[in-house]
């Protein structure tokens, strides 16, 4: 790669190759933070600065009202993730970070689907809802809203199933997670 300041030309292909080093491994980071203004911006900034796209982000209270838990999923090469978690540790308002391994943690997300449903298709949709142990929480003349809770894969699968009926819109929370066993996340 050419250095800034030198005349050497860079091809777009070279640039793309250098940018797109992804492992495909999804990281679920559970971050315990002090409940103070600006914390989320600081955390998000560390990812943005390195050009990482945060896939999902959930912030919510914990059992201690002075603390919040941020659960964040990101896809990144192993090395840079390590760099980011080290930088996250340095933030004064961050108390704890865990990069949760999939088999040592449970993760769930919730989603709401607004699906076109007339008299003809409603029955079939209800069957899918039942199979996925989802819940219809609103019924109108032309649409239903379904609540689904489960793993990321389950929510994805549900989406694939109902798309053919006409998916009007969808809202997803992103994953929250806790480690298994007695130890704290």
């Amino acid at each position: 790669m050419g250095e800034p300041g030198t005349k050497e030309l860079l091809s777009l292909a070279e640039l793309d190759a250098a940018a797109g080093v992804r492992t495909g491994r999804k990281h679920v980071l559970s971050i315990l933070v002090e409940n103070k203004p600006g914390v989320l911006t600081r955390i998000a900034g560390l990812f943005a600065r390195r050009g990482f796209n945060i896939d999902t982000l959930v912030v919510g209270p914990t059992d201690d009202e002075a603390l919040s838990r941020i659960t964040l999923t990101v896809d990144g090469a192993m090395h840079p993730i390590d760099q980011v978690t080290k930088q996250l540790h340095k933030l004064v308002n961050v108390l704890k970070i865990r990069d949760l391994e999939p088999d040592e943690a449970v993760a769930r997300e919730m989603a709401l689907f607004k699906i076109s449903a007339d008299a003809g298709s409603r029955g079939e949709i209800m069957q899918v809802v039942e199979i996925f142990r989802a819940k219809i929480i609103d019924v109108q003349r032309r649409t239903v809203i379904v609540e689904v809770t489960g793993t990321h894969d389950k929510v994805e699968a549900f989406e694939r199933m109902v798309r053919p009926f006409g998916l009007v819109e969808m809202a997803r929370t992103g994953e929250i997670a806790l480690s298994r066993g007695r130890g704290e996340t």
């Binding site: 790669m1 050419g2 250095e3 800034p4 300041g5 030198t6 005349k7 933070v33 002090e34 203004p37 600006g38 911006t41 600081r42 900034g45 600065r49 760099q83 080290k86 930088q87 540790h89 340095k90 933030l91 004064v92 308002n93 961050v94 108390l95």
Partner: protein, 560 residues
């Protein structure tokens, strides 16, 4: 009961602050009212950037926390550069910015800027005051965070209405920050491993950075090197951490370092990195950096370990603490200096073959390297604090000026901020009034903060400003010459301003020097003038800094 701003002054005094740099404005009027009879000395700079850099210079020269005040809006945006500079070079500075009153926040009020948001990526930490009663605790937390661990800048943004409120001030005892617990004690097992690796190494090099100076660990580092004669090189920021010149001193490392230092790293089997971060100006082409070496990496910041170069023996903690213990472990092993004989032979050969050199002029013209050497002689072998700006003059100073002590060399290393030198020298001179303070600058750099000359004159701060004047943006010109086919694009500075007249207009002495034959004596005479002095030294126009590791190349392929 007292106003929150008066409590701030009490906190500053409790932190041992006796001088601050700053600039008042609408949103920090309450603060300046409290300053009026606080007993704290305030230096009114001419631009907030000058104030920020002065606070950095003060911190670098003294080891104490520097303090800078600025108002809201433009005052705050003007300190963005010194904040970033302090972040990059780990300089402990606390910045206090005024802010519009709380009901105006977010409404585009007069002189409102989102200071907290703008500065978030460039601070070690920052606080936005939410309630006046929390101010004393926050001030002490800010100082604690700035000073401890890896030092850095902390900003406190203060809405003007909150600072005017009366509070029940109680002195704050200890600071409790559950999310901030820097590791200071190095791991004993790792230290023992490191000592063993060093005792077994055949071609070791100590590579010391600015962290050694921040940790006040120069004497420990020097003692360690002296046990069995380990070779030492320093980064730009580390100069002064090991006394130079010295038999074991290889010269500076990196892009414009000596061939000896760079070749030694290239062939080393063990590199002991202390308070250094393997910056691209040090490593050159990363994949070919020190290919034969194992790395011991001592750093206070765990995020630096294996960031650029994987460490074989990482030791996280305070360099002073670790080096003292490493020293005793190492002494205990009684390493055999004879094992290094071959290595030293090789190093001596490089030293003989590749000394720093330049072609002196045949006439009276002053070569820039000669100017640095003359300055070294005129200061009785570098008995002074020397600040520089950014560019060729800085690299020549790093090569030809030597430091026997730390905190004498005031630099903007990471950010490379032109305009840093003059205000930083001012801060250093305020911190160390008994030392002579000089700033070596370029004709381009000096113009980026030359308004501070009148601050020097106003307060009688006797900084001597030496301008290496070649009429060019010298380093950019050099790169255009070497890498861009000599297409000199926007680098000619012309001969304006007339720095002698400028100096006089600003209340300083002005001297022009053009003759190398009398240069040392002329410099001596100019440096002996009372008060601030500007020395316009005219040097060769087109001279390049060598040797050089061209960008993206390996140390092995140094040119010049």
């Amino acid at each position: 009961m007292m106003r929150a701003v008066d409590a701030i002054m009490e906190c500053l005094k409790a932190e041992g602050v006796d001088v601050v740099f700053g600039y008042p404005g609408g949103a920090n009027l309450p603060t300046y009212d409290a300053m009026y009879d606080s007993g704290i000395r305030h230096i009114l700079v001419r631009h907030e950037a000058g104030g920020g850099h002065a606070a950095e210079g003060y911190a670098k020269a003294s080891g104490k926390v520097g303090v800078c005040f600025a108002t809201s809006g433009p005052g705050a945006t003007n300190i963005v550069t010194p904040l970033t500079d302090a972040m990059m070079d780990s300089v402990p500075v606390v910045f206090f910015t005024g802010q519009v009153r709380t009901e105006l926040l977010g409404t585009d009020g007069f002189q409102e800027a989102d200071t907290f948001g703008i500065t978030m990526p460039i601070v070690k930490h920052s606080f936005m005051i939410q309630h006046p009663t929390e101010i004393p605790r926050i001030v002490h937390e800010a100082f604690h965070i700035a000073r401890t661990g890896r030092p850095g800048p902390v900003l406190i943004d203060m809405p003007t209405d909150l600072t005017r409120t009366e509070i029940d001030y109680q002195p704050v005892g200890d600071v409790r920050l559950p999310g901030y617990q820097p590791t200071t004690e190095g791991n004993q097992k790792q230290i023992r491993l490191a000592a063993k690796a060093m005792a077994n190494a055949r071609r070791p090099v100590i590579y010391a950075g600015g962290g050694v100076i921040n940790a006040d660990a120069s004497s420990e580092l020097t003692e360690l090197a002296l046990v069995d004669g380990l070779p030492v090189t320093c980064t730009l920021m580390g100069l002064g951490a090991f006394p130079a010149p010295h038999q074991q001193w290889l010269g500076m490392l990196g892009m414009h370092g000596t061939r000896t230092a760079n070749y030694a790293m290239d062939e080393a089997d063990l590199i002991v990195a202390v308070g250094a971060r393997f910056d691209d100006r040090i490593t050159g082409k990363l994949s070919e950096f020190a290919p034969r070496a194992k790395f011991i990496h001592i750093d206070i910041d765990p995020a630096e370990i294996s960031k650029n170069v994987p460490a074989h023996i990482p030791i996280v903690g305070d360099a002073k603490n670790i080096l003292a213990r490493l020293l005793s472990e190492y002494r205990g092993l009684q390493p055999d200096p004879a094992r290094l004989a071959e290595w030293w032979e090789r190093i001596e050969r490089w030293r003989m073959q590749h000394p720093l050199r330049y072609d002196d002029s045949a006439d009276n013209e002053i070569k820039p390297q000669f100017l640095v050497q003359a300055l070294y002689d005129a200061t009785d072998r570098g008995d002074c604090i020397l600040a520089t700006d950014i560019g060729q003059h800085q690299m020549w100073a790093a090569q030809y000026f030597h430091f026997t002590k730390p905190r004498r060399w005031i630099q903007s290393g990471g950010l490379g901020t032109m305009g840093f030198g003059l205000p930083a020298a001012m801060g250093a001179a305020v911190a160390q009034p008994d030392l002579r303070t000089i700033v070596l600058s370029g004709d381009a750099s000096i113009q980026m903060n030359m308004q501070e000359l009148s601050t020097l004159a106003t307060y009688g701060i006797p900084v001597k400003v030496v301008i290496m004047n070649n009429g060019y943006l010298g380093m950019v010109r050099q790169w255009q010459e070497l890498f861009w086919d000599r297409r000199y694009s926007a680098v000619e500075m012309s001969q304006w301003p007339d720095f002698v007249k400028l100096a006089e207009a600003m209340g300083c002495h002005g001297v022009r020097l053009v003759d190398k034959t009398t240069l040392v004596d002329d410099l001596r005479a100019a440096l002996a003038l009372d008060g601030p002095v500007v020395i316009d030294a005219r040097v060769t126009k087109e001279e390049s800094v060598y040797p050089m590791i061209a960008p993206g190349q390996a140390a092995r392929d140094m040119v010049g």
